[in-house]
């Protein structure tokens, strides 16, 4: 097994036990996904040295599963995820990208915040 295949198998194994079903949307396009939930803590410091801490609601998905209109795509700021009747918006925090990929590009950790019930 290659490392990307191992990572994909591990993701599916974990998702089978405690994955959540969600809908990823960009405009009119959408795709059904099974994601793992997580969080990332970000810190930002202003000019006066005040540190603000943010915690993003993360969705871990397989990159191959994130296909809109039949084409694999990377998450973009403003995309939305509907999960457990709550809506989350993809955003950038702390000057980072709105998602982080593992070194093999197999899994994506998408940073979001909840915007609606």
């Amino acid at each position: 097994m290659t490392l990307p295949a191992i990572l994909a198998a591990a993701h599916r194994a974990a998702a089978a036990v405690h994955g959540v079903a969600c809908t990823y949307t960009r405009g009119a396009a959408s795709v059904e996904l099974t994601a793992l939930r997580g969080q990332t803590r970000f810190e930002a410091e202003d000019e006066e040295g005040v540190v603000t801490q943010f915690v993003s609601a993360d969705f871990l998905v397989l990159a191959a599963d994130l296909a809109l209109n039949g084409a694999e795509t990377a998450p973009m700021k403003g995309d939305r995820i509907l999960c457990d009747d709550k809506t989350y918006e993809v955003l950038r925090l702390g000057g980072e990208q709105c998602f982080a990929a593992d070194p093999t590009g197999t899994r994506l950790r998408i940073h979001t915040k909840q915007v609606a019930e």
């Binding site: 191992i6 974990a14 593992d102």
Partner: protein
């Protein structure tokens, strides 16, 4: 903190005109800063893309020292600034004289300090010695410490000293060796706030002794174990630890270890955590591993017959075996004690041998946390233990299928509940 002893490195610098302590005269390359480095200096790598063409390491160096001993306290005087502080360890002498190991007790001056003896008896008080080598590198955001050879961060075997890498660095080794390798027991490697750490070819990402790592994202080995053969005192935190073979292989060093590893997830192509078979006896070794998810072909494997003395505490929310039992104890290993504190132990292997736990031979496996043991419908048992084995649970054992073998439940009972099927 930058000081007058700081070497600055910038992608806009110039190796020919760089000067220590002057941020406006930075070096262009880390290698040039390393060449100018003396013990106690700090190398400060400014933002930008930096590629290392040589591993970060410094040889120990010989300096004339005078050792005097009185009432168990050794006073060391040297001819150069020693750069030592209390707690650093000192290996004194290759020769047949003073061959003991010393711990720096009190710094008297830039050229003198006192030590307490930690190693064998000292018989000679005037020998050449190897002093601690101190190397500190601070990397700001965006720096990549990438080594096309074997090691990105490396120290010499059995030379006492210290390497510290801090900041938002990505560390990657593309050759056959580990990305971080601490082979000498007298050495300490500390990497804090590293973004990613990986090894590409044959080597593990982390190996050696006395390794202290804080990694924001992954520790990953693309073709081997992510972490293996640790000795000494190790403290490792990362979000994910991923190895093509195993995420963590323990108990494979010839010296005792005391290891703490914490991660969100451990992922292995074979086992996520493995203690291999063998005959090394590292008395007193122990490891504590905490992870939310531990996933592999098997989550934990105790290898073939072993005479090791090892104590493992494995603390997890979820242990999952994808293609085999989640927990495998392969053979007699009476010297190895393993405590699993887990909420769910799952085998997703749709095969008659896909037990949640499979035990062979004498073992010292304990379950804590009243785990639910989940399997597919295929196996006839949730736990399969050969007749010589005994599984001890310090809480109710929640299973979907019967248990085969000797099981002792200290608190509660075995409860059979058909919902524990995946």
């Amino acid at each position: 903190m930058p000081t007058s002893r700081t070497h600055y490195v910038s992608q806009f610098g110039d190796d020919a005109t760089a000067q220590r302590g002057k941020s406006y005269r930075p070096y262009r390359t880390i290698a040039a800063a390393l060449a100018a480095y003396t013990p106690g200096d700090l190398i400060h790598v400014l933002p930008g893309l930096h590629r290392l063409t040589e591993p970060i390491h410094r040889d120990g160096y010989l300096v004339p020292v005078t050792l005097t001993r009185a009432n168990g306290v050794v006073t060391v005087t040297v001819e150069e600034p020693h750069g030592c502080s209390a707690g650093h360890r000192l290996c004194a002498g290759y020769t047949n004289g003073f061959d003991g190991e010393l711990v720096v007790h009190e710094v008297l001056s830039p050229t003198a300090f006192t030590c307490l003896q930690a190693g064998p008896d000292a018989t000679d008080n005037s020998q050449q010695g190897i002093l601690s080598e101190l190397l500190a590198i601070h990397c700001e955001h965006g720096v990549e410490l990438r080594q096309d050879g074997d090691w990105a961060v490396f120290e010499e075997y059995d030379v006492p000293g210290y390497i510290s890498v801090t900041g938002h660095a990505d560390i990657h080794a593309a050759g056959a060796g580990p990305a971080v390798n601490g082979t000498g027991l007298l050495y300490r490697i500390q990497c804090a706030n590293i973004r990613k750490l990986s090894a590409a070819t044959l080597g593990p990402a982390v190996s050696g002794a006395n390794v202290h790592l804080e990694v924001q994202h992954e520790i990953m080995s693309i073709n081997y174990d992510a972490i293996m053969s640790l000795g000494g005192t190790n403290h490792i935190r990362a979000r994910s630890i991923v190895g093509k073979d195993n995420a963590i292989e323990l108990g494979n060093a010839m010296v005792p270890e005391s290891t703490f590893i914490e991660a969100d997830e451990l992922v292995g192509g074979q086992a996520a955590v493995r203690i291999p078979g063998g005959t090394f006896a590292a008395a007193g070794s122990r490891a504590y591993i905490r992870a939310k998810r531990i996933i592999g072909a098997s989550a934990f494997v105790m290898g073939s017959a072993t005479t090791r003395d090892y104590e493992l505490f494995l603390d997890a929310d979820e242990m999952i075996g994808r293609d085999a039992p989640a927990v495998v104890w392969a053979a007699n290993a009476p010297h190895v004690a393993v405590r699993l504190n887990c909420r769910r132990i799952t085998s997703q292997f749709a095969d008659p041998s896909g037990y949640a736990i499979a035990l062979n031979g004498t073992n010292r496996l304990q379950l804590h946390g009243s785990p639910a043991l989940l399997t597919t419908p295929a196996p006839a048992y949730s736990v399969y233990a050969s007749s010589a084995t005994d599984l001890v649970s310090f809480g109710t054992l929640r299973v979907a299928k019967p248990v085969h073998g000797n099981v002792t439940v200290r608190v509660g009972a075995v409860t059979i509940d058909a919902t524990h099927v995946v």
